[in-house]
């Protein structure tokens, strides 16, 4: 029995959320500057910070996809050149709108240093190039975690007033303890458990190998707009404590989604949990298994067996 991912169980912003409509999709560059400033402000000792998420959703209406942008994304990730938007591309479209929520002054956590630990997204109806897309993003479910504070960043894409895609990104603000209460489960441990299940299944070797070049971070940064310095170069990554640049987690998850390919069908759920970051350049051995229900699970590990990511792709028959 498959447990439904949060992207299927969430149904729109929580009650009482105020929707602020932006005139257009905000530029991520500017958002990062604001986010960095906000992060710095949040670190000023004695500064009082909010302990609740803003009950605000940002919304941009009538977004049109640029065909060149879609093509670049598809080529980079190994998706087919279909006019149907891959779920990962929907995530890319919604990302700036979601980021705009996270750089609000009333957002309680620093943008930089937040770790993307898990993601779930559902294509509920096929979204096509040429559709007018209404993108809505909000944050919810601020909760305590062993190593800090977690929250979900949610986004929906609606076509003709009907939600066609929903994504839930779970972030961890490491070492920030804002709220009490029961700690949520640790994503990393579940990835590890998954991986060991794989080893015992008797499979020999990986099905697929990704050889990631040093410029993969820059390339995905270009199509996603996510130019976080930790992905851009070894130098900029060192400034944040990484020995080399690391691959975008969503890049690796989207590669896995592309590997499953056409058999995910027109509508599907796609989940990922991230473990150790993938240092660039690097190699990831990925195993795919399918169950009788047509659900795919995948797990990517380093050549020494350390887990990088694991997840599912579940067609909605």
């Amino acid at each position: 029995m498959t447990v439904l991912p949060p992207s299927r169980t969430v149904t729109g912003p929580p009650p009482g959320t105020r929707v602020e409509t932006l005139p257009s999709v905000p530029g991520l560059g500017g958002l990062y500057v604001r986010g960095a400033a906000g992060s710095a402000a949040a670190q000023i000792p004695g500064r009082t910070t909010a302990t609740t998420l803003p009950a605000v959703a940002h919304r941009v209406e009538g977004v049109r996809v640029d065909p060149g942008h879609l093509t670049s994304y598809q080529h980079l990730l190994g998706e087919t050149g279909s006019d149907a938007l891959p779920s990962g591309f929907c995530h890319v479209l919604a990302f700036p709108v979601a980021t705009a929520v996270m750089v609000r002054t009333d957002f309680p956590l620093p943008l930089l240093g937040m770790v993307h630990v898990a993601n779930a997204a559902s294509v509920l109806r096929p979204v096509h190039l040429g559709d007018a897309l209404d993108v809505t993003a909000w944050t919810q479910d601020l909760r305590a975690h062993r190593r800090g504070t977690q929250l979900d960043v949610c986004a929906e894409i609606a076509v003709d007033g009907e939600v066609a895609w929903r994504g839930i990104s779970t972030y961890l603000a490491k070492g920030v303890h804002l709220v009490g209460g029961a700690e949520s489960s640790d994503a990393e441990s579940s990835v590890t458990a998954d991986a060991s299940d794989q080893e015992s299944s008797g499979e020999v070797g990986a099905s697929v190998v990704w050889r990631l070049s040093a410029d993969v971070g820059r390339a995905y940064g270009a199509v996603s707009g996510d130019r976080n310095p930790i992905h851009m170069s070894a130098l900029s990554a060192k400034a944040f404590g990484f020995p080399r640049a690391i691959a975008h987690g969503m890049y690796t998850a989207a590669r896995a989604l592309a590997d499953v390919g056409a058999r995910r069908g027109p509508t599907y759920d796609w989940t990922v949990e991230f473990a150790k970051p993938v240092l660039l350049p690097g190699r990831v051995d990925v195993t795919y298994t399918t169950g009788a229900d047509g659900a795919w699970t995948y797990a990517g590990r380093s050549s020494s067996g350390r887990p990088h990511l694991a997840g599912t792709v579940i067609p909605n028959a």
């Binding site: 020999v204 070797g205 099905s207 697929v208 190998v209 590997d259 195993t287 795919y288 298994t289 399918t290």
Partner: protein
């Protein structure tokens, strides 16, 4: 055995002969030869052997796996360079390592349908002169500049080119969807079927010895035409031994938990070469006094889902052969010759292991039980790719021509018996597998020709 087309039953297509150039090793004898050079040489040798100068053939079909974009019409351009009538049409076809065999099947079907009377099926590949592409960044700049109407726009196009874009994009033989080389894929399959190093080395040894012996007895005299000073296949090692093969270090499967078993000795190296097979209807052959070496009976192509690890990349022929034999009402025991393309020695072994596995044949092939086993003395009797080399698209033609000749020899040695039957099985990139059945042509009484 003359047949004429009737509305209800297609007529027969026959292999009449073949020719190839010796296969060179990468960077070897043909380092500076292009695909077109080599294919033309193979075609010209065929024309010379069978006296086809000035002949307008029905069609020439063939291809190359690694192909320059300028070679968009490779086979036609090659044909124009031969002594054949320049009005002989041609087209390119590509099915990875099965290109040559697929070309044979394609023209056979046209002959059977009465669309053509004669054809050449061919294939060529050069890993020495493989196409090297420019990076996507440079390509975009070049194309933009080419379209530009003035110099500033043209220069602007190049402003976006980064130093890294100047590095060429070498062709990759890795599977595009898995990033694994064919050897790494087969290493997984080899381990899965528990194939030993010793068994693989034995296959390699026999391949070299069988091919060398075929040269020695003159069998290859009318199958191979030297080219560029190369008289025999460049990787052929008649003097190799189990000891020599046993000393080589494994090159594939080193990341697996299992002991790696695949070495440079029991894996086929990259090669350069070309081959061509002459096919025709019985009437066409008779009018030109050409021998009917073998009848093309039937063929089957299969593909497996290797991307997600369910089945081995090179296991598709296992499926193709099962379906082909079922359709023909044949068993492995009905075969007198079996040619299993030696992409790796272990392919010969995993293929046969799968056919002998009752459970596998039931669940994966949908058969009532194991397909069976084959007498090793019937397998690759004149050597195969491990000894000859494997210029991808040229391999099918090599196998079909030498198998047809071997069938004709069997038939000639036992005129009262037969027909003798051969199975050709070729695995290909992309999880593809192609199989075909050839049959000798019993000589009718009173016709010593």
């Amino acid at each position: 055995m003359t047949t004429s087309p009737t509305p209800s039953s297609p007529r027969e297509a026959y292999v009449l002969g073949g020719n190839r150039i010796p296969f060179g090793k990468v960077g070897g004898a043909y380092a500076r030869s292009s695909n077109q050079d080599m294919l033309t040489a193979a075609l010209d040798g065929l024309v010379a052997r069978y006296g086809l100068q000035g002949e307008r053939l029905g069609e020439i079909v063939g291809g190359a796996v690694l192909k320059h974009s300028k070679d968009f019409n490779l086979v036609r351009e090659s044909a124009l360079g031969t002594a054949l009538d320049p009005r002989t049409p041609a087209f390119d076809l590509q099915q990875a390592c099965a290109t040559g065999l697929e070309a044979v099947i394609t023209v056979s079907n046209k002959i059977r349908l009465g669309q053509i009377e004669s054809a050449i099926a061919g294939g060529v590949d050069s890993t020495s002169d493989a196409p090297v592409a420019v990076s996507p960044g440079l390509r975009r700049a070049l194309l933009t500049a080419a379209r530009a109407r003035d110099l500033p726009t043209r220069l602007k196009a190049f402003a976006k080119v980064r130093p890294a874009d100047l590095a060429p994009d070498a062709p990759r033989t890795d599977e595009p969807r898995t990033g694994l080389s064919m050897g790494e894929h087969q290493a997984v399959t080899t381990a899965r079927w528990g194939i030993t190093r010793e068994a693989q080395d034995e296959i390699a040894l026999r391949s070299h010895h069988n091919l060398a012996a075929s040269y020695e007895r003159g069998f290859q005299d009318d199958l191979v035409t030297p080219y560029r000073g190369l008289v025999r296949d460049q990787i052929l090692r008649p003097d190799t031994s189990a000891e020599k093969l046993g000393k080589l270090s494994p090159v594939f499967g080193k990341r697996l938990d299992h002991m790696p078993t695949m070495t440079a000795g029991n894996s086929t190296p990259l090669s350069d070469g070309a081959s061509a097979v002459l096919l025709g209807s019985a009437d066409w052959a008779a009018a030109r006094n050409l021998p009917l070496l073998a009848r093309v009976v039937d063929a089957e192509t299969a593909a497996v889902d290797f991307v997600h690890g369910h089945e081995g990349l090179l296991m598709a022929p296992v499926h193709a052969v099962a379906r082909l034999l079922t359709r023909q009402g044949l068993t492995l025991g009905d075969l007198d010759l079996v040619e299993i393309h030696e992409a790796f020695a272990s392919v010969v072994l995993t293929t046969q292991a799968a056919w002998a596995d009752d459970d596998y044949c039931r669940t994966e092939l949908g058969l009532p039980g194991a397909l069976g086993t084959i007498d090793p003395a019937k397998v690759n009797v004149n050597g195969s790719s491990l000894a000859a080399g494997h210029p991808f698209a040229a391999t099918g033609g090599r196998i079909v021509a030498q198998t047809a000749k071997q069938l004709a020899e069997l038939q000639a040695a036992s005129p009262a018996a037969g027909p003798f039957r051969a199975l050709v099985s070729i695995c290909a990139a992309g999880g593809l597998g192609v199989a075909a059945i050839l049959e000798s042509v019993p000589t009718t009484e009173g016709d010593p020709r």
